[in-house]
């Protein structure tokens, strides 16, 4: 097993920004300190948490923007021959926008969980706190990813159905409400991520 010691903190635990986690108990049995599992131990939980917040926001915004692009370009084109659709179909754009708002909400909630930790004696965190830190870091990271990915998919879905909605409305106004229901179900996909993301990080605390 290749040793990565030169690149990382000294054996026996991660050197975080302003404190060090306790002793060799973090290194799994059978692994020497400084082996590659130490990479994970040497990444600060704050990094994971921040990445989670970034993904929750950026993937959601990406999905929303993509959806608005798909819907918006169709809406503008379809409104040339049927101008009456233009205000009604803004609802589709708003549905896409909602996926970005879900991302913003989650990002704000998640970042509220970040705070400076109270450091133990000699700038060393007790191992119990270490476990909480890792739990919090990972749960915020994956909650962020869950929210981001679901909202990305949801945004594109709403965009595509919104595009169909604009075209259908231009031909036959009675179709508008029916396709709007499809959009609402597409939008619900993002809410699933939102709910699960909140539950995942319920116990996360720095």
């Amino acid at each position: 097993m290749a040793t990565l010691t030169p690149f990382f903190a000294p054996a026996g635990g991660g050197g975080f920004v302003n404190y060090t986690c306790y002793g060799t108990s973090n290194t799994p049995q059978g692994w020497d300190a400084g082996d590659w599992p130490d990479i994970l131990l040497n990444i600060s939980p704050y990094t994971w948490a921040s990445l989670g917040i970034v993904m929750a926001l950026s993937l959601s915004v990406l999905g929303a923007a993509w959806g608005i692009w798909i819907t918006g370009s169709t809406l503008v084109g379809a409104a040339v021959k049927a101008p009456r659709i233009k205000s009604k179909n803004l609802v589709s754009v708003i549905f896409c926008e909602a996926t970005a708002i879900f991302g913003v909400i989650i990002a704000i909630i998640l970042q509220g969980k970040l705070s400076d930790i109270s450091v133990g004696e000699n700038d060393k965190a007790p191992s119990a706190i270490c476990a909480t830190l890792f739990y919090s870091g990972y749960s915020i990271f994956w909650a962020g990813f869950a929210v981001g990915a679901t909202n990305l998919a949801s945004g594109i879905t709403v965009g595509i159905s919104g595009s169909g909605c604009a075209l259908a409305d231009a031909q036959d106004p009675s179709l508008f409400v029916k396709i709007l229901i499809v959009e609402i179900f597409g939008s619900a996909l993002g809410i699933f991520g939102l709910i699960v993301g909140i539950i995942m990080t319920q116990n996360a605390q720095f």
Binding site: W69, I70, S73, T74, A78, K81, Q171
Partner: protein, 393 residues
């Protein structure tokens, strides 16, 4: 000519990526669907006693702006105005198009360019002193060239040398030049093999052979381009073009009866190369088609293909002409091609369906002028109709 494989960034893409380039343009096109005449429009036009009434009815439709200021209305003016509308809409789409959509739209125009060149050539061959200006009026505006091109075509001399000159001096600069070049190449390859046959054939059937060859090369090229585009465009256009290739092959066979092409010695060497090398009939169906010598044999070959059996039955029973039977099939396919979103086939089907609508309109007007309204349904193939025969099933 575009190559077989396009880069990913040059393809129209699918559900999630199509709108990046073509979202606005496609929605424009879909909006134009509102302009098709409805069943109710046709019904009220069919009740008209004279063309002035037709004009009044048309003013209620999307054609209103075009027929409104026409003083004297006639079937040919209806055609002219309807074509003008189609061309305006097409130009709007073309002006908003990026590659590869613009290339796709150009491909749609090549079809009409071939029609126009053939129209002028045929007229010139029949009557060398024909009035060019009146001919140009008959050409299809979607396949328009500059007037000088048409004038030069009229100077055509019917000989193998004449063809070469026609190509070198006129058609080489037009988009359909490459098809003409390949036609000449294939012919000259044959001349070296068997000079006398080809000589006779070119003299007797110059236009039939030229037209079929150009159409064949065009369809093959178009299909290759569409397949390079990938996605739904490739899937749908393949079916539509294949159906057209089959119609072409069957028509070539049907029209060859009683001409030199039906000579048992020439069927294999001259008639078979005119069939497009694609389609649902290709290759074993076209193999059999190349052997048939009369309508009975043709019917026997087509009996194994359900769709074409139905079409040919209509022709043989005399219910419809073979052209109308194929038009009906084409309208059905194009309406289906229109159904999906995020593909280019809708552009093709729009132009073809509009063409059919214009044919319907002109035919109905003719019937009203001739006071033979009972014949109006003879060549009438409604578009996007609730009452189409294939919807009633």
């Amino acid at each position: 000519m575009p190559g077989k494989t396009l880069l990913l960034s040059q393809r129209p893409g699918g559900l999630a990526t199509f709108n990046i380039q073509d979202g606005f343009n496609e929605a424009l096109l879909r909006g134009l669907q509102l302009g098709f005449l409805s069943d109710a429009d046709y019904r009220s036009i069919l009740q008209c006693e004279n063309l002035a009434d037709v004009k009044l009815n048309l003013q209620e439709t999307d054609y209103g702006a075009y027929v409104g200021d026409v003083a004297q209305i006639s079937p040919s003016i209806v055609r002219e105005k309807a074509l003008e509308k189609l061309v305006n809409e097409f130009n709007l789409l073309r002006a908003n198009a990026n590659q590869p959509l613009s290339q796709f739209l150009e491909f749609i125009r090549y079809d009409y360019m071939i029609d126009n060149v053939m129209l002028i050539l045929k007229a010139t061959l029949n009557n060398p002193n024909v009035d060019v200006a009146s001919l140009i009026k008959q050409t299809h505006p979607l396949g328009q060239f500059e007037e000088s091109v048409f004038n030069s075509i009229c100077a055509f001399e019917n000989s193998p040398k004449g063809y070469a000159e026609l190509y070198q001096s006129v058609l080489i600069d037009t988009p359909i030049g490459p098809y003409f070049a390949r036609f000449l190449q294939e012919e000259s390859a044959k001349v070296s093999q068997d000079a006398s046959y080809v000589q006779n054939l070119l003299e007797e059937l110059p236009t039939t052979k030229l037209e079929s060859s150009l159409r064949k090369l065009y369809l093959e090229d178009f299909l290759e381009f569409c397949q390079g585009l990938g996605g739904d465009t490739a899937t749908i256009m393949t079916d539509v073009i294949k159906a057209r290739a089959d119609a072409t092959a069957i028509n070539i066979t049907l029209n060859s009866f009683g001409t030199m092409l039906n000579d048992p010695n020439l069927r294999e060497s001259e008639r078979k190369p005119l069939y497009p090398s694609m389609g649902f009939l290709y290759p074993e169906g076209t193999d059999k088609l190349s052997q048939v010598g009369d309508e009975m044999e043709l019917a026997a070959v087509l009996r194994t293909y359900q769709v074409y059996r139905g079409i040919f039955d209509k022709h043989q029973r005399g219910d419809k002409t073979i052209d109308d039977a194929f038009y009906e099939r084409e309208v059905q396919l194009n309406e289906m091609a229109w159904e999906g979103q995020f593909h280019y086939a809708a552009y093709y089907s729009y132009v073809r369906l509009k063409e059919q609508e214009i044919r319907n309109l002109v035919w109905i007007c003719e019937c009203i002028v001739q006071r033979q309204k009972d014949r109006a349904s003879d060549h009438f193939v409604p578009v996007f109709s609730r009452e189409a025969s294939y919807r009633k099933r």
